[in-house]
């Protein structure tokens, strides 16, 4: 008869080991960057438009080397991050709150549904003057733009997820004495959590994009401004330098979200096959 060592770890398949996954992820990114470089060197990607990693990486390095001071990269990053995070947080809170409200109050949800769908289709860029008018040219208007992007993504996801929660779970806790806020915090939000996080992962990206576009429209600092200036000089190296920085920041935010999701998803069954 075989003996069984319960402490053996061989049963965790390679594809679930953290180090293996990280390596693969890095390899994918490295491959992408490498392909970019090679195609750039070979002239297939016109340097005038696409730049090359070997050009924009030193440029980014240069930005950081410049140090602090007026117009420094640290300040640009700080401003863009602030706008992004404010837009993201406010948009998320609003989206979850109103999505929740409308899912719980059927009539309210139905009544406002068409209006929200209409608002969602309005191109935010076109409303730039109205944003400037209502929120001024500074931080607020940029945050507001981000909020309008994040809100709708989170709203629709939350609304649907909460509406579809298994009624038996709700019934059970209600009989067990849950107040309305208990039902929300113990059942509805946890059940909708996955869907909400999925929408947050999309909307985090849109929050960045929104902040950068708003800076593009009117600002004097931030990564969007830096990119706009570079673009004005057809300086694709500067443009991609900025884009890569944004992508890196977004990756950080996304990693944070995934960590939060992971911490909360421990209860989920894992497939063995």
């Amino acid at each position: 008869m075989s003996t069984l060592d319960l402490t053996a770890t061989t049963a965790v398949p390679l594809t679930r080991r953290t180090w293996f996954v990280r390596t693969i992820q890095l390899a994918v990114i490295a491959f992408f960057i490498g392909a970019w470089e090679v195609l750039g060197q070979a002239g297939i990607l016109d340097k005038f438009y696409y730049s090359r990693p070997s050009l924009f990486v030193p440029r980014i390095g240069g930005w950081f080397a410049e140090g602090l001071g007026q117009g420094s990269i640290y300040r640009d990053i700080g401003i863009t991050l602030l706008e992004t995070i404010l837009g993201f947080v406010i948009g998320t809170l609003l989206g979850v709150a109103i999505g929740y409200l409308f899912a719980r109050n059927e009539l309210l949800g139905k009544a406002f549904d068409p209006l929200l769908s209409m608002f969602n289709a309005i191109p935010r860029l076109v409303l730039a003057p109205v944003f400037i008018l209502a929120f001024g040219i500074d931080l607020q208007s940029k945050v507001a733009l981000g909020v309008t992007l994040v809100f709708f993504i989170v709203f629709f996801a939350t609304f649907t997820a909460i509406r579809d929660v298994d009624q038996t779970l709700v019934d059970n806790v209600r009989v067990l004495g849950a107040r309305r806020r208990d039902v929300t915090s113990q059942v509805l939000l946890p059940a909708a959590f996955s869907a909400i996080v999925a929408s947050l992962r999309t909307s985090a990206g849109f929050a960045f994009a929104g902040a950068v576009v708003a800076e593009y429209i009117g600002s004097n600092a931030g990564l969007g401004r830096r990119i706009a200036t570079a673009e004005a000089f057809f300086d694709s190296t500067g443009v991609f330098g900025g884009i890569v920085l944004i992508a890196a920041l977004a990756l950080l935010l996304d990693a944070g979200l995934q960590l939060a999701e992971g911490a909360f998803s421990r209860w989920k069954p894992r497939r063995e096959h």
């Binding site: 009989v175 067990l176 113990q186 946890p190 209860w267 989920k268």
Partner: protein, 263 residues
């Protein structure tokens, strides 16, 4: 004394979209005095779970009136313990957290009591497991602990023990009887096991095939305290068993014939 549970000419119609309305139960009149242990048996699909839904306030009656502990039922009642037929544990909470939940809702923190109940249903070693890491019978037992930890004065139990093996079931039945005997709780108990119904109850209610109505009510005159393992050899037990069995047989035959006709 007013009955703990009372249904007056109650009917329930389900109205599924795009299908004909379905009359699940009708003309149900039932009074259950406080402290009584009543079992409901009936053919599958006759409306037993519907009945519990009405008493707990989770379902509104289409016709008639339901009264619980002296007040009319108009919304969900939190003064009952309800064991659902379906899995109702929160999948994102461990056994411990699930059982502590009703205490937290009341603002109490009593980990010792929760733990005591978990041990009592035999889940001590699995206290930190999530529901999907339990077997079917273990999930049912966790639900039992969750409902009982609050010590409600009315228990509504929808086949709480059907997923348990005979022995574990006996253990749980005895636990339930102890709990009930000591406290004077009112219990409305749904089961498919006639022996279980007789062994536990003061009275057995037999329902007809759908639309469910009350076909017969049999008081159980067996002395208490009872030992559920031994009682099934008493002659009253056998007599009762046979009557209920015959009732049920007629109903099931009727219901099955209807299915064959529909086919």
């Amino acid at each position: 004394m007013a009955p703990a549970i009372s249904l007056r000419d109650v009917a329930k119609v389900y109205r599924p979209p795009r299908k004909r309305p379905y009359l699940a139960i009708e003309h149900v009149d039932l009074d259950i005095p406080a402290g009584r242990f009543v079992s409901v048996v009936g053919p599958s699909g006759c409306g037993k779970s519907t009945l519990l839904g009405l008493v707990s306030g989770l379902l509104p009656p289409t016709v008639g009136e339901v009264t619980l502990l002296g007040s009319r039922v108009t919304g969900v009642r939190t003064d009952v313990g309800f064991i659902f037929q379906r899995d109702a544990l929160l999948p994102w909470r461990t056994v411990r957290e699930n059982v502590e939940l009703p205490l937290r809702f009341r603002g109490e923190r009593d980990p010792a009591r929760a733990k005591e109940w978990i041990v009592r249903v035999g889940l001590g070693p699995f206290i930190d497991n999530y529901p999907h890491e339990l077997s079917g019978g273990m999930r049912k037992r966790a639900q039992l602990a969750q409902s009982l930890v609050r010590d409600p004065s009315v228990l509504l139990m929808d086949e709480p023990f059907s997923a348990l093996d005979v022995q574990t079931r006996n253990l749980m039945e005895n636990e339930l009887l102890n709990l009930w005997g000591a406290s004077g709780k009112t219990v409305l108990f749904i089961t498919h096991d006639l022996e279980e119904a007789i062994a536990l109850s003061d009275e057995i209610v037999v329902m007809t095939a759908g639309p469910g109505t009350i076909k017969a009510r049999y008081p159980v005159a067996l002395p208490r305290p009872r030992n559920v393992t031994e009682i099934r050899f008493a002659p009253e037990f056998v007599a009762l068993y046979e009557r209920a069995w015959a009732d049920l047989r007629d109903e099931v035959a009727r219901s099955y014939k209807r299915s064959l006709e529909a086919g």
